[in-house]
Structure formats: C-alpha cells, structure tokens
Symmetry: C2
Subunit: 222 residues, 2 copies
DNA sequence: AAAAAACGATAGTAATACTATTACTTTTGT
DNA sequence: ACAAAAGTAATAGTATTACTATCGTTTTTT
C-alpha cells in the first residue's frame, strides 16, 4: 500500500488553481494543516500562513478564494483518502458483515500510522476533521455549496458503508442515519475525550470509542 | 429526582451584567436569537444587533464580553430549560425504562410547541442549538471555558439521562457515550435532513430521527 | 525566442471586533 | 426628597481581518 500512487480527487470548484500542481500550492496545503491545528480555524489567517511559507497573502488567494473553501478542500481530500482506506481494508474479504466491521474500524479508530505517500500529514489532518470539520458545513452557504458538489466525497463514504449495512440486513430502515451517526459520533467522542471527558466513558489505553460504535452497529442492524 | 434548579440559571461568568434583570438585557437576548437564526452566527454582529434594538453597540458590550460568550449563554440557557422538560416528562413515572424512553423523546423530537412563559422563543433557540451549538465548544478556549463551568448545564443533562440508562442496565459500560451520541446525533440528523439529506433516511411527515435513536438505545443497552 | 503563466512586492479598502470617554437619565437607598 | 450609584446614549478611535488591485519580474511552456 505504501508504494501505490493514490489519486485523490477533490471538486475542482474548491480551488482557483490546483494546489497539487505546484510547489507553492503544496506548501500552502502542508503548512495550513499544521497551522489550523496549532491556531484553530478561527485564528488561522492567510496572512499568517503567508509569513510561514514566506509568500505574500495575495499569492495564496490565487489558489483559494478564502480560508473557508480551503477548509472544505482539506475535508474533501480527507474523505477521498478515507475511501481508499475503506477499499483496501475490505479487499478480498467475502463476508459482508466482516467487511462492515472492518469499515467501522476505519471510521472510528484514530489515524495513527504515517502513510508517507503524500506531502500531507494524515494524522494531523484527522485532528482537523475532529476539531474543525463541523465548521465546513455549518454555514449559511451549505445549500449552495452542496449543490456545487463540495461535500461529495463525504457523501460517497457514507453511501458506500450504508450499502454494506444493507448487504448485512437488506431490511434495515436507516442505514445512512446509522453510518453518519457513527462517523460524526466517533469524531465527537474523540473530541469530548480530549476536552469534555465527562461526556464520554473513556478509560486510558483502551479504544472505547471504536468498541462502542462497533457494538452499536452490530446490535442495531440485527 | 435530584437537585433541580427552580429557575433557569446560567453560569454568572457568562455575562458582565445579567440580561435577565433589565429591559435592554431581555431585548438583547430576544433579538439575538432571532438574528443568529436569520444571519447565521458568523454574520451576526453586535453592531447589527444594536441597530435592531435601537441601542449602541457599546451598550451590548456591557452585558456580554463578545458574541461567543453570548452564544454559550444561549446554549447554557437551553440545556437548563431542557432539564425542566426532562423532569416534567418523567414525573410520576415508576418504570425506569419508561422514564428513559420519555427522556430520549425529549432529546430527539423537535421543539415545536410554544411556551409563552418567557421572553425567549424556545423553538427558534432549538434551531440555534441544531445549527450553531457546535461552535460553542469547538474553539481553542474550550478547556479554559470548561474549567470555568460554562458547559455545566449540558453536562448535567447528559449525566441525568446516563443515570437512567444505568437504572435500566447497571452493567452497561458506556452510558455517557450513548447519551451524548444520541443528543449530538439527533441535532446532526435534523441538520442533515434540512441541508444534506443524502446523509439521512428521512421520509416526509414521519419523525424518523426520534424513532431511530429510541430504537438504538433500546437495542444497545440490553 | 516569444508568449503565457506564476509569483513577489506593495498598496489600499470596507468591515469587524472591540475600547474609551463623556454626558445625560433613571433607579436606589436613606 | 435628594444625593449617590448605576445604566444608557452618543461619539470617536484602533488593530485586525478579509479581501482586491496593480505592476514588474521570474519561470515555464511551446
């Protein structure tokens, strides 16, 4: 897997110039992931990013309309990447329930391994998803941006795993609700574990979040 | 029934002057709920609010440090109010599982009734919780604000219902995870139903969200 | 070698999120 | 009833943010 060239695709409406095609573009992506993590999305600005990559603010605006579309770009990239993980982790597995279980694991376990295939630090990006991704679609412009296809990679992941749910139990009524609850819930619980622990039941060392949602899916769909 | 507050009270650190004690303060709360709904939290400003209530921006700053603490105030007020609903809806019910079921209903069904007891429009406030409440605690200052007790009313609600879960099944390992997943999930699903429907399985007329989570809780805790 | 694209440097603007000051008005405590 | 305290209006001002515009230079493509 480490030597495979992944073709991660994001909606071309998300950028003015594809950051993947130039050195400056890749620096923008790479450094913005670090800075959004350090500063939080609100305090992150193109001006500060420009200082770090030693390029003027205006050059960044040639790639992204604003920091909000940059965030959606990162979120979109993440889900496209997750789809690869889902495909790889269920490859050559016959049993649908085994495929589902492995998929839930991918969606709920923290990203720890380094996959040095790209210039993007997926572990850090995962932290951005946990902390900031709700801000990507909790805006006044959701409907408009949804129409433009900005959230397609996320919806594809939910769709893919929902289909596995239906393979296991074709009569189950709420596969999409179940999977989006698992995905969003797992992020939420990881966030709570870090900042509002009384809202969770995390015990040190054990990955209770993954255990909880795996158990939940198994019990709910039978 | 545990120590329940008789008045809806929010942490006094959330305001500089209690908005409940003056005409201007109540106008600030009442109008800000309307405006955050209309404009979205990002586009809502104290300046615009001042124009609407015909008071200068600086007067609003005498009540709230900034719009972020105002949002936490509203969220906090909401959960304090929800706790009342929980208490009322489980009053005189003997069966723990019946109490739990009624509580889940309160947490997952949309607020539609008008309670004209206060100057606050709870239905509109519920919409703010659905759309904007994640922004109240997804910030760099969470840990600090958590220490100050800003999220206490929310944590109390989760704690109360988690205890009901344990009454039904004392051996269940993840009561807090379950309840916070239900609460956050229900908001999320209502939001998705409005804006990203492919992530849900909503059918017109029926409240599938409540059905889904009620079913989920019942299956998970046995 | 010429044309096109990308980039750096600099400047500028409207809006945001506040802070500060002063003076007038209302509430309150005795 | 009256002074003190508290609350409010009006106005002004600041640093930062989120952009937009221009222009000359460098780099890449053909």
């Amino acid at each position: 897997m480490k030597n495979i060239q992944l073709h991660i695709e994001v909606n071309s409406g998300l950028y003015l110039k594809n950051p993947d095609t130039s050195d400056l573009g890749r620096k923008i992506i790479c450094q913005s992931i670090k800075m959004i993590n350090e500063l939080g999305f609100e305090s992150f600005t193109f001006k500060k990013l420009g200082v770090q990559i030693d390029s003027p603010e205006s050059s960044i605006y040639r790639y992204f309309e604003n920091k909000h579309t940059l965030l959606i770009y990162l979120v979109s990239w993440y889900w496209s990447w997750i789809e690869y993980l889902l495909v790889f982790s269920t490859m050559n597995i016959d049993s649908s329930s085994e495929k589902l279980e492995r998929s839930i694991k991918v969606l709920t376990e923290p990203i720890l391994e380094k996959y040095p295939t790209t210039y993007i630090d997926e572990e850090l990006l995962n932290q951005i998803i946990i902390k900031e991704s709700v801000k990507a679609y909790h805006t006044v412009d959701v409907d408009d941006e949804n129409k433009k296809g900005y959230f397609k990679t996320y919806k594809k992941v939910v769709q893919r795993v929902s289909e596995l749910v239906l393979e296991v139990n074709p009569k189950y009524k709420f596969p999409h609700m179940l999977i989006s609850t698992v995905i969003e819930g797992a992020h939420q619980q990881n966030y709570f574990a870090q900042h509002l622990p009384t809202l969770t039941d995390v015990t040190e060392g054990k990955n209770n979040v993954s255990e909880f949602y795996t158990n939940m899916v198994n019990k709910v769909i039978v």
